[in-house]
């Protein structure tokens, strides 16, 4: 047992003396959360729009007023002609324009039908889509307020509710994603590098000649990164709750336990990588290409897995981060318990068992 403690102490020296890496390891989750939280966001706010109002009546004024009042739009300017509209778009001053035809209110009241045109700059299709949707819903609101009292025959009324995330915050989506990314990177890459480094330096031979049991070498190698990962989880969760207002609706204990499980899976993967790579560079490359990229691509955090071709969807099931991402979203954002995430948890646990068995077998006790 004492041997083991000496070993762990040595691992901590390595970790703590490498200031630069340590700084990256602790700094990475914090910067990622802050960047995703405040800089990279899909939300569209304060977009500049222009109004071409050919009617200038009460109805258009009311709609314009409501558009202006919403946080999504900044009314940039009123323009007077189609030609001006074109040039404003070309100068990139606006992302959308709202065009009211002549006699807007009149046709609305007399014919019960009026047209309004939304023109969006679709060089960024997602933004264009979002903006027209916002504008449409504002106009619908206005329409409804008009019809108050006046019965309109046969009208379907859609009412939307955004469950779990009524404000449509992007942070609800990326916090679980960043957690998966950081834990995978710290766990797998750092463990594999720390083992391969000893192979490269030749110290692994000396350790293997000594009486220490190989299993203890493995565990001692993992413990510092396990602790580091738990610290990272704490900093991510604290930042999410206090800086980004992302709630933890489910049980914190369950959430931390799931993180622990995922971290162990990452460590086991790191061990596996270390036994197949001969140098630190190779270990790093395998970790980045083989783990980090799939984590980003297939966890569903950047790109929805449901939209991928079937073979890729099947492949995505092999990525531990996908299951972890589901679990964290469920527990943290939806507030569900083990009752809903037991299957994902079992899958992760199964992956852990398989990976550990394979990698411990592959860990070369005798260096051939």
């Amino acid at each position: 047992m004492k041997q083991f403690l000496y070993f762990i102490r040595k691992e901590f020296y390595h970790l703590l003396r490498d200031r630069r890496t340590l700084f990256i390891l602790f700094g990475m989750p914090i910067t990622q959360i802050l960047i995703f939280g405040f800089a990279l966001t899909n939300e569209v706010k304060n977009s500049a729009i222009a109004i071409l109002d050919n009617s200038k009546d009460e109805a258009t004024a009311a709609i314009i007023h409501q558009l202006e009042a919403s946080q999504y739009f900044d009314l940039l300017l009123n323009i007077n002609s189609n030609a001006e509209l074109e040039s404003t778009f070309q100068q990139g001053k606006i992302r959308m324009a709202v065009v009211f035809p002549e006699q807007f209110q009149r046709s609305l009241l007399h014919n019960n039908l009026a047209q309004v045109q939304l023109i969006a700059d679709a060089t960024d299709p997602n933004v264009a889509n979002t903006l027209t949707t916002y504008a449409t819903s504002i106009i619908m609101d206005y329409q409804q307020s008009l019809s108050n009292g006046i019965p309109i025959p046969l009208m379907v009324n859609t009412e939307m509710r955004m469950l779990y995330n009524p404000q449509m915050k992007g942070s609800y989506n990326f916090v679980p994603g960043v957690m998966a990314m950081v834990l995978m990177l710290v766990g797998a890459m750092m463990t594999s590098i720390s083992i391969v480094r000893e192979k490269e330096l030749g110290t692994m031979e000396v350790i293997l000649v000594s009486p220490i049991v190989p299993m203890r070498i493995i565990i001692a190698k993992m413990i510092p990164y396990l602790i580091l990962s738990m610290v990272n989880i704490a900093s991510i969760l604290l930042l999410s709750v206090y800086a980004l207002d992302v709630p933890i609706r489910g049980s914190l204990v369950l959430l931390v336990a799931e993180c622990f499980l995922f971290t162990l899976t990452a460590l086991a993967l790191g061990l596996l990588i270390s036994s197949v790579s001969g140098s630190q560079q190779v270990a790093m490359l395998i970790s980045l290409m083989g783990l980090f990229l799939p984590t980003i691509m297939f966890s569903g955090f950047m790109f929805p897995v449901e939209n991928m071709p079937i073979p890729l969807q099947v492949l995505s099931n092999l990525v531990p981060a996908k299951w972890f991402y589901y679990i964290v979203k469920d527990v943290m954002i939806k507030g569900t318990g083990l009752k809903t995430v037991w299957m994902e948890t079992l899958i992760l646990a199964g992956m852990l068992v398989v990976l550990l068995t394979v990698s411990i077998r592959k860990f070369k006790v005798r260096l051939e």
């Binding site: 004492k2 041997q3 403690l5 000496y6 070993f7 102490r9 040595k10 020296y13 390595h14 003396r17 490498d18 330096l201 030749g202 110290t203 031979e205 000396v206 350790i207 293997l208 000649v209 000594s210 009486p211 220490i212 005798r366 260096l367 051939e368």
Partner: protein, 248 residues
């Protein structure tokens, strides 16, 4: 010298696929002896040594190391041997004291023993003032002496040295050999591989491996006489020239 050999090797063989790296080697090493294990690159000496240290499993043949059987009692062997690898084996980002505490620790020494032996080592190598500096800032010669001292810290019966003086200046090599003699005088068996023939002359007995086989084994002076040469260099060249196998 005791009657029981410190290392006894009988028909030890290692094959990698079709390639026979070590071909039925047989020899004994006595206790307290400095045994030079020579051979050109690729002759199989590193593989043989790794088998004796438990880093590699023999394909066939038997051996006892420190009185324990290689295949059935590897754990006892591990406790009785020290090993210094070809590559530098201390941690550069740890201080001298931390390195010796780690290696003492994984060999199961008690804290008290570790403190005492570290102190002895520092006194002996006159490194007291450097005890808390990181190993990476020490000159190579010191590092090599230090790793030898660390390999001896748990007082092993046998110490295996794999080309311990590679890249070290002649003065330091001489000092290193003084340490080897001192260890042998205390009864430790020293099993050393080297490419320096002047070092071969320092050994009690020398074996020369060619193409996986031990082609010569005797004291350096007897070997010189046998081959009719002035020194080990020519003995080695005569034997190594017969090799059919190229570098590994």
């Amino acid at each position: 010298m005791s009657s029981q050999p410190s290392i006894s090797v009988s028909k030890l063989t290692k094959r990698f696929g079709d390639f026979t790296a070590v071909d039925e080697i047989t020899f004994d090493v006595h206790q307290g002896e400095i045994f030079g294990f020579l051979g050109a690159n690729g002759a199989g000496k590193t593989t043989a040594m790794r088998m004796l240290c438990g880093l590699s499993l023999p394909t066939s043949g038997t051996a006892t190391v420190a009185g324990f059987d290689l295949s059935s009692e590897p754990e006892q062997i591990k406790k009785s041997i020290g090993y210094m690898s070809q590559k530098f084996s201390l941690y550069e980002d740890l201080t001298i004291r931390e390195n010796s505490r780690f290696y003492g620790g994984i060999y199961g020494l008690k804290d008290q023993q570790i403190l005492q032996r570290t102190q002895e080592m520092l006194d002996h190598l006159k490194l007291e003032s450097q005890a808390d500096t990181l190993v990476k800032s020490l000159p190579l010669g010191w590092k090599q002496k230090l790793s030898f001292a660390v390999a001896l810290m748990h007082d092993p019966k046998i110490v295996f040295l794999d080309e311990p003086t590679g890249g070290v200046d002649p003065v330091t090599r001489r000092e290193f050999w003084t340490m080897i003699y001192a260890a042998a005088d205390r009864g430790t068996t020293v099993f050393v591989t080297t490419h320096y023939m002047d070092e071969a002359e320092y050994c009690d007995r020398v074996s020369i491996m060619v193409d996986g086989k031990v082609q010569a084994l005797d004291t350096p002076s007897a070997l010189s006489k046998q081959f009719g040469t002035k020194g080990m260099t020519e003995v080695f060249i005569q034997l190594a020239r017969k090799a059919t196998r190229s570098d590994n």
